[in-house]
Amino acid sequence: MPEPLPQEPYTSGGGRAAEDGAIAATGMGGAMDLATSEGETLEKSPGWPGGGDPQDRPRSLWSDAWRDLRRNPVFIISGLVILFLVLISLWPSLIASGNPLKCDLAKAQEGSQAGHPFGFDGQGCDVYTRTVYGARTSVTVGVCATLGVALLGSVLGGLAGFFGGSGDSVLSRITDIFFAIPVVLGGLVLLSVVTSDSVWPVIGFMVLLGWPQISRIARGSVITAKQNDYVQAARALGASHSRLLLRHIAPNAVAPVIVVATIALGTYIALEATLSYLGVGLKPPTVSWGIDISAASQNIRNAPHMLLWPAGALALTVLAFIMLGDAVRDALDPKLR
């Protein structure tokens, strides 16, 4: 696909984003921009990488993407939400003065009242305080597990899809086995031996059982992407494996990974609840959205507010990451530039 990239107006992520993107392209020298990502390969290879003038480097696809992102309001908003989540994870007392472990059974399941805007849960704990304090565990679990799964999965799956052959076969069969391990069994076996109170065993467990999914997706996209003309062209011109993978295939194969990973983030936070429910996940006195959602689920008929707030917080987090993922994906897609 070495021909000039389409510059039709684009309709996504809100009109503003499109405008900003356009401005970025023209303002910072549209011609150069177009030349960078794919077209450049034709001209400069096989001297790249190693050679090439230093001025071209910051103009790489990734730096372009970053420049786009900074101007994308979707990215900025989701970034702010995530920043906020990180802040309250680090210092929950900034916005909640109570103690999440102080519970009075006499107030169990009571609704909203002065000083307790979200009401009380089944044990009489303040839902607001617990929701704020739960962010630390849940965001850590969600983000770390997702990062781990996405990195491990896309590296292994990407390599397998790219090289094919026996490596691919072995890896694919390993993923088959991993897929087959029931989460309940895995959790009961692997986590019941752990006595540590920290979140890391739980995250490690999720990465261990979660990577095959991303690996499959990444492998599939890489297999498609490597058939593209520009990849064939670059390969014909002698581009190295790493260059092919990183510059040509990855940006075109990353979208499904981002989509799955951002949704999976939410499901990992929820999975943590399942593990706790099985008695092998995080244990009290740890506070997490997952534990609270799981507890609230039992009482959905009597006290829906117990579910609403932690689930709402989870939804907000997932939304922020989905938007972030969308923005990153758009920024990486040269066709949208």
Partner: protein
Amino acid sequence: MRGATHAKWVACATAAALTATACGGGGSASGGDTGAVLSSSWGDPQNPLEPANTNEVQGGKVLDMIFRSLKRYDPETGKAEDMLAEKIETSDSQTFTITVKDGWTFSNGEKVTAQSFVDAWNYGASLKNNQKNAYFFGYIEGYDKTHPENGGKQSADTLSGLDVVDARTFTVRLNQKFSTFPDTLGYPAYAPLPKAFFDDHEAWVKKPVGNGPYTVDSYTKGSQMSLRAWDGYPGDDKAQNGGVDLKVYTDNNTAYTDLMAGNLDLVDDVPASQLKNVRNDLGDRYINTPAGIIQTLAFPFYDDAWNKPGMEKVRTGLSRAINREQITDTIFQKTRTPATDWTSPVLGEDGGFKEGLCGDACEYDAAAAKKLIEEGGGLPGGQVKITYNADTGSHGQWVDAVCNSINNALDNDRACVGNPVGTFADFRNQIGDEKMPGPFRAGWQMDYPLIQNFLQPLYYTNASSNDGKWTNKDFDKLVDEANAETDTAKAVAKFQEAEEVLRDNMGAIPLWYQNGSAGYSDRLSNVKLNPFSVPVYDEIKVG
């Protein structure tokens, strides 16, 4: 086995794997009327449905419908009354002569004779048959031969203590004096078995044949058992309905929803989360009656940290830090009653239940609790971990509530935490291996309504269900004295004295007495739960 331990630990835990929380185990009574069939919730039995192999409530439910033993526990009072037994005589409390009533047959037409009982008991006691309730026959002479302990070789197939005198009479010789032995004979493990059981065992297990008011019409393992009233049933507790369809539910909440939608007639286990709505949903078609079940917290006395002198104060302090009233009201919606002794209200005053025997030690008093724990040297390691099995949903809830109560009383939000164990088997393994890091969940469902059954199996030195390994010479002595007593009132008084020793040492914290609760559709009437919290199916009227 040691001691009088005909006991079945609370089935809640066994039923755990079935996600049911009900407990139960007895059956019941009265006159005839064919007609409509009702449907009732059920759980998949864990073991094959052999009488001496069924140790949990779901299988027990069926056995109660298809079998009648020598005795039957009255569905109202729980008193053991003669059923197939015409008379049980003894002169020395050790050799019993049992006469079986005439006119009883199995539903396949075979006569119920003395031999039916002796064969069944021999089968149950024989090690090679893997019967999990074999220990029920432990008092009968010759048990050590048919069921040797510690890997010994089985040297006999039949109990030497059992002798058939004639078609309707047999004698039982025990290996020790046991005056209340006849009262234990209502337990399903003592049921008679037809020849078909031995001749074609596999077929029998697929479709059991018994001598009770119901017969098994069809049985699809894992999903449904259809029982039908047996017209030829000779007893006076003939089924008053056409039959019962037991439907397997994996979640009691689904069963409850089906009841509300009119797809099910009877749920004998209302899920905790629905207790708040139950009056709204069902009105007066909801029953909540006491059952012979008590929940306690046991301690690891094999751990010096919990056993050293002074710790009784800490244990009592913990007991006083638990606001039982509030927890039973809020978490259990009054389907539990705060415990004030170590027995159960179903025993009645005469039977040994003594309200308030625990006294102050079971009264919630945060200040006193704090003081006691400090005097006793504080919590071992600064923190109590209450261990429970997490594979049933509701244990976590009350453990958290107990912990919050303790934390609030001690003003330390990390004084107590729950310690879930993933599976029931693992929980039992850890108890067996003496690995409990602190107090742990314990529950007891009576086998028969005697105070002895609530104390001896649980707290006598090395008794079979003394999981905490509590041991106390005074307690043991008083129990021995009580067992030797022939006068019931005096025996009960001795047992209560023993219970006071238990209290003063706080060998286990009594939490609450459990009720049986059930809901039913408007097609049904005369629905009752027996003291074992099992519906009295034969008395239910449909339409």
